[in-house]
Amino acid sequence: MKKKVLAVMLSSAMAATVLAGCGSSGSSDTAATTAATEAAAPAATEAATTAATEAAAEAGSGDYENCTLTMDWWGGDSRHEATQKAIDGFKAKYPGIDVQVNFGAWSDWETAKAAEYVSGNNPDVQQTNFDWIGKYDADGTTFLDLNTVSDTFDLTQYDQSVLDICKDSKGGLAGIPVAMTGRTFYWNKATFDQAGIETPKTLADLEAAGATFKDKLGDNYYPLVIGEYDRAILMTYYLQAQYGEPIISPEGNFSYTQDQLKEGIAFIDKLEDEHVIPTEEYILGEGADSMDKSARFINGEYAGIFEWDTAAKKYITALGDNGSNLVVGTPFADMGPKGTGSYQKVSLMFSISAKTEHPHEAALLLNYLLNDPEGVTAMGTERGIPNSKAAYDTLDKAGMIDPMNAEARKAVEDSNPMYWNPLFDDSSLKGDSPALYTDVFDQLSYDQIDEAAAAEALYAGYTAIAPAK
């Protein structure tokens, strides 16, 4: 009997078990730093712009210590290559500062970073997401207030209104907003030509295209494809276009009633009913990890996407020889009485760890990557069209701003985008199930719940993180 007890205990136990050193170096150039700050004022003339660009580069001069910095970012191969090239340039310009890098794809990146924030092991310099300020820097102790290194990093290259968005709870500047982004439509012109219609300019055009596609091209052709999170954003555009208020206010309050939410959900439901977008069951059946890997998108059966204005490149690459078929659309002016209902947000940021032992050197690195012509040229537009005036001028003069990227950015800017609160991307709402956007829009599409139940679930989810007004 004792043996049996021991065996049970052993078996249970088995089950449970399965369950930068510094030295002194560099040259002093305080005058250059001062000049940079002064010269970086908004450039009204080309001469002034050139001076600002040069000054932005000069801002990165001055004393520095030999040390090793750590830095990480996420992205695709082209971003990795560009960033590594820029870092090589930095190391050549500042011998004695080594930069150890860590980079990877977005998948599971945030999970790993969250663990680093908890343990306090985040790197000196880091690519960060806008909503990470609220998530991981709620008490303002995770990211360095970049105002404290403004003598090294040239903040004058950024509009104050953009910098203000990236403030933490203590009013410190938690990150440098590298670029802004918003959603717009991209259309596969070849498929629309095949259907004998023009790419949609209005919501009415899009709604009419559903039936045309079905009649002329077949059941497997759709003018637009959107996943669960895209549906939440398009629903938000629709609601904001109807009522003219951001879905979550700057004060963190949810702006709409449950009935109003139901209208937005009905709008998405209608798009599915009218063959404008495929059902989630149809999308998931293909088993594609993302839309740029979807054979149905690549062969033109899905003729439209609703994507960030910074994301066109991967879709063009996916289309291969037919990449030129992809054209930029605009948010629809007839979405509602209050306009397009669009919003824009900070695409991504760069932050410096509050725990870094080398804030000055970390700021030097950031300034090189984001403001210095050498670094900016190497970085290109891999993170969108830069907010930095010096960087924009450098890339513009070099003809490095991708016309399609610029066109998409302009489409969003011209759509009079609204304020966007990062609570919209709260982990209880966005992400894999159990997250509300996925769960609600999947259940709605699979006819597991009706519009009223979907509205009730979404309303409860929103108001749990952003109390109703």
């Binding site: 049970v8 249970s12 399965v18 969250a114 989630e280 069951e281 293909e286 982990s427 199930s433 159990p434």
Partner: protein, 299 residues
């Protein structure tokens, strides 16, 4: 006298010093997380917001909350579908590979390979290529006029697809069965043949009883692994569609590392642990009725 005592003490306890590194590792990496997770399971601990209250809700929700209850039910379905199927498949193939057939080593290797592939990206790609709408299986059946279900997007079939992956990876259980089959004396089969017993009779009345300890071992280990399955649904379906493949381990992972609700995740892990304890205990209790240990008197 004192030195003698000291030497004796060292002699008697030297073994203890050798196991200190393991004990430290066990305490830091196993015991502490194990016990602290039990504490956190009674709190609303969020990784970034800390603890605001102590509660039993986490445990109640495993059974009361619809999504968590669904996950629990799916986990049971998964375990009860895959464990018997995997054991039968492993035993059947091991039985065949125990015969002296040409190229037996090649077949043994071939059948073992899937189990070392585990839950890799390659497996995800392979499974999608087989089961997606335009995949090999649906295309092949369509060619002969049979409409197969949408495995990837139909909630009723997605779990079946994930189960198949686990059953397919029966190699490790098969190797253990094969070793056990080799241990069954040929004399018994010869004697049975002389008495007129056919192959099936020999299998069920000689082979199976003599390898019941190994069947028991495989049953317990496969049961534990099935309840803890994570890789398959994570890499292929991410728990979808409609949460139909969200097994408990995946739910725990999502709660802990996507939503950061550590308290909830810890409670779910402890419920899973309790379930495994119960099933393991039942398995051990039941062995006196069906497991034959040759070196003991009777069963």
């Amino acid at each position: 006298m004192k030195t003698k005592k000291k030497n004796k003490f060292i002699k008697n306890n030297v073994g203890f010093f050798f196991v200190i590194p393991w004990l430290i590792g066990f305490c830091v990496f196993k015991a502490y997380p194990f016990l602290s997770s039990f504490f956190y399971s009674f709190t609303d601990y969020n990784l970034f917001k800390g603890i605001t209250k102590f509660t039993l809700e986490n445990y109640a929700n495993v059974f009361m909350n619809a999504a968590e209850r669904k996950s629990l039910i799916i986990t049971f379905k998964y375990a009860f579908m895959t464990v018997p199927l995997k054991l039968v498949a492993a035993l059947f193939i091991a039985y065949i590979l125990n015969f002296k057939i040409k190229g037996v080593n090649f077949f043994r290797t071939a059948y073992y390979i899937p189990s070392i592939l585990g839950g890799s990206v390659a497996i995800a790609v392979l499974w999608k290529a087989l089961f997606q709408d335009d995949g090999l299986i649906r295309t092949a059946f369509a060619a002969i006029g049979i409409e197969m279900p949408h495995f990837m997007s139909n909630p009723s079939w997605a779990l079946f697809m994930i189960c198949l992956l686990r059953v397919w990876q029966f190699g490790s259980a098969m190797v253990i069965f094969l070793a056990a089959l080799k241990g069954v004396s040929n004399d018994l089969y010869e004697a049975a043949s002389i008495d007129g017993a056919g192959k099936w009779t020999q299998f069920f009345h000689i082979t199976v009883p003599l390898i019941t300890p190994v069947i028991f071992y495989n049953l317990v280990t496969q049961l534990v692994q099935a309840f803890q399955e994570f890789n398959g649904p994570y890499i292929i379906t991410k728990g979808g569609p409609l949460g139909s493949t969200t097994l408990m381990s995946l739910l725990i992972y999502n709660n802990a590392f996507t939503s950061y609700n550590m308290g909830k995740a810890c409670a779910q892990a402890w419920v899973l642990f309790a379930i495994l304890m119960v099933f393991t205990a039942i398995a051990f209790w039941s062995q006196k009725h069906w497991v034959y240990y040759a070196d003991e008197d009777g069963r």
